[in-house]
């Protein structure tokens, strides 16, 4: 073989068991499929929901499952299935925004703190400690007390509260990579700092950030559902899973159906996401050991 032959092969693609970006176990594939399915349902809600989720049928309240209403109706005679389908939208979009925002803020902070250390690290560390003193829900309740109920204050407050969750893990990952001899070697050999970040630091930190963000998505989903459940989150007639679980009157009257279904959906979504997150974390640690 000569140099030209070598060049024809893309340098990055190898057959020797290098870390392929997505190589998941069966369980993780199932979890991924569940997440994809839920996302699809949320996207296609207008197409697949059999009824308008807000359409009331007061003559037909608390109806059991039937051909017309597959999962029955609620206390106002609205179709539970349609409400669950529409409810996927705020229930999934909310946590997504929370996690993306927390990552967007937390990762740069953590990169700076981990890479430069010293005073930057101290300042960032103190700020994170302060944020960490506020449980997410409490921060959201404070926000609601300030600005009134609604998704926006809740999502912003949770995003702030989730910054330490992302940043702490990222920082320790950065510290781990920062101290690795291959980074020192790249520095000594004169590789520009920007390239070290791009080619060495970020690729080795990204998997753990993604894994942690996935886990955080599950927590954010629960927290937002709780807030909606308490009446602080989604407002008005918009269906939301958390809100649907809070059907006190119906439950006390012995009609827990919609609460149960919404609860099951939350459980399914959270288990799929957290399974995926744990799997990614484990795999990252395994890869780290092999390497």
């Amino acid at each position: 073989m000569n140099a030209l032959a070598l060049r024809r092969r893309p340098l990055a693609a190898t057959s020797d068991g290098g870390a392929a970006p997505l190589r998941l176990g069966t369980g993780a594939k199932v979890a991924l499929a569940v997440v994809a399915l839920l996302a699809l349902v949320a996207l296609l809600a207008p197409v697949i929901a059999p009824y308008d989720p807000d359409k009331q049928d007061l003559l037909n309240i608390h109806a059991g499952p039937s051909a017309d209403h597959l999962l029955g109706t609620d206390q106002l005679g609205r179709d539970i299935l349609s409400r669950l389908i529409w409810g996927a939208r705020p229930s999934l979009a909310g946590p997504l925004v929370v996690v993306l925002a927390a990552t967007a803020v937390g990762v740069p902070l953590a990169l700076a703190a981990g890479w430069w250390g010293g005073a930057v690290d101290t300042v960032v560390g103190r700020a994170l400690d302060l944020l960490f003193a506020f449980p997410g829900i409490l921060l959201a309740v404070l926000a609601v007390a300030m600005f009134g109920s609604g998704m926006v204050p809740c999502v912003i407050a949770l995003a702030i509260a989730f910054v330490p969750l992302i940043a702490r893990v990222t920082r320790s990952a950065v510290l781990g990579v920062r101290g690795a001899p291959y980074i020192a070697a790249a520095e000594v050999v004169g590789v520009p700092t920007a390239r070290i970040w791009l080619r060495h630091l970020l690729p080795n930190v990204a998997p753990i950030v993604i894994a942690q963000a996935t886990v955080a998505f599950g927590y954010a989903l629960i927290d937002l559902a709780v807030l909606s459940f308490l009446g602080f989150g989604v407002q008005g007639t918009t269906p939301d899973w958390g809100m649907m679980v809070n059907a006190q009157q119906s439950i006390v009257q012995g009609h827990p159906d919609q609460a149960v279904w919404a609860g099951v959906l939350i459980v399914v979504a959270v288990s799929a996401v957290s399974y995926l997150g744990t799997h990614l974390t484990d795999r990252h640690h395994r890869d780290g050991r092999d390497a």
Binding site: A133, L138, L142, M146, I251, A259, V267
Partner: protein
């Protein structure tokens, strides 16, 4: 006689294994820790105070709404809530009051906040304590069982906790309420009950609701921690020395696993502080949570401030307690001050 040659051969300036005044080192470390704690609490109180101070809407508008009110009354109200003072002074006044147990006057109830909070806090503390006991017993028990009985028992526990760990407390609470209280009628649906026994009876379902998620979490961490220790080299040493398995498990596996178990138990204890808010609301227990939700809905700022501050302090104190417990459990952290940077 042999002399400790090695120490003498260690490089000058590095004195291995020499801790001239352990007690003092620990006292200093503790003092630093407590200083940080006080700073954190003060910072939290500023955040709580300012966030509501900066909120749109003032006690006046909450009290009077759109009504026309004589200026004299308005003045009196402003004076009562110290609204004309500069903000830092308002904060200091508020903080001074808080330190003496005076959280101001509730706008909605028109009585001191502290009188409303006392009872509610008792209920919440009782509920949280009850749940914490259940969480530790069930969580650590199941986790240890799974770690020590690989195979079917482990599989079953892993499956159960896997589902439970994805079940948020409010979902569990709702389902428990609908089945055990409404459907079967085994437990009361609402209310905190009177007298200790009745109260515990009323708190059982809420406590179980708080336990399901948290205990599963504790169980999983316990299992993982114990398995890691079981595979540890120091356990191999203990076995190689012929120690009986029960000693190995107790002295080396469980004892060392206590460090991660404490971490997660501490997290759960801190999480309970928020968890009780939700459960409180569902079972209408009249604890701090219900009071908080009502206060937020009524824009009762002094009440919200007081409860938020209490909850944040509890959260911070629990976290600090766990940090201190760490030092007891892991000697490597005890004199961390002695370690090289």
């Amino acid at each position: 006689m042999t002399v400790n040659v090695e120490r003498n051969l260690s490089p000058p300036g590095v004195d291995l294994g020499r801790f001239p005044s352990r007690g003092r080192a620990r006292a200093l470390a503790l003092a630093r820790h407590l200083g940080g704690l006080v700073a954190l609490l003060l910072a939290s109180s500023v955040v709580v105070f300012l966030s509501l101070q900066l909120a749109p809407g003032s006690p006046e508008s909450v009290l009077f709404g759109q009504q026309q009110v004589p200026d004299a009354v308005r003045e009196a109200v402003r004076a009562r809530y110290h609204l004309d003072d500069p903000v830092p002074l308002q904060y200091l006044n508020w903080l001074a009051g808080v330190l003496q147990g005076d959280f101001g006057v509730s706008i909605a109830y028109q009585q001191p906040v502290s009188t409303r909070i006392g009872d509610a806090a008792a209920t919440t503390v009782l509920l949280a304590g009850y749940a914490l006991v259940l969480i530790l017993l069930v969580g650590v028990g199941l986790g240890a069982l799974a770690a020590l009985r690989p195979g079917r028992v482990d599989g079953l526990v892993t499956l159960l906790t896997g589902v439970a760990v994805a079940t948020p407390t409010f979902v569990a609470a709702t389902l428990l309420l609908s089945y055990f209280a409404v459907e079967l009628g085994w437990f009361p649906v609402y209310g905190p009950g009177t007298g200790l026994l009745d109260r515990l009876w009323h708190l059982t379902l809420p406590a179980v609701a708080l336990t399901i998620w948290a205990a599963s979490f504790v169980a999983r961490v316990t299992r993982a921690a114990m398995r890691e220790q079981l595979a540890g080299e120091h356990v191999e040493t203990a076995r190689a020395r012929g120690l009986a398995e029960r000693h190995v498990i107790r002295r080396h596996v469980f004892r060392n696993a206590l460090v991660p178990i404490t971490t997660v138990a501490g997290l759960q204890a801190a999480g309970l502080i928020v968890g009780t808010v939700v459960v409180d609301q569902i079972f209408q227990l009249g604890g701090l949570g219900q009071l908080l939700v009502t206060a937020v809905n009524q824009s009762d700022f002094p009440m919200v401030q007081a409860i938020c501050l209490l909850l944040v302090c509890a959260f911070v104190l629990v976290n600090t307690g766990v940090d201190l417990l760490y030092r007891v459990l892991d000697p490597r952290l005890r004199a961390a001050a002695g370690a090289r940077r």
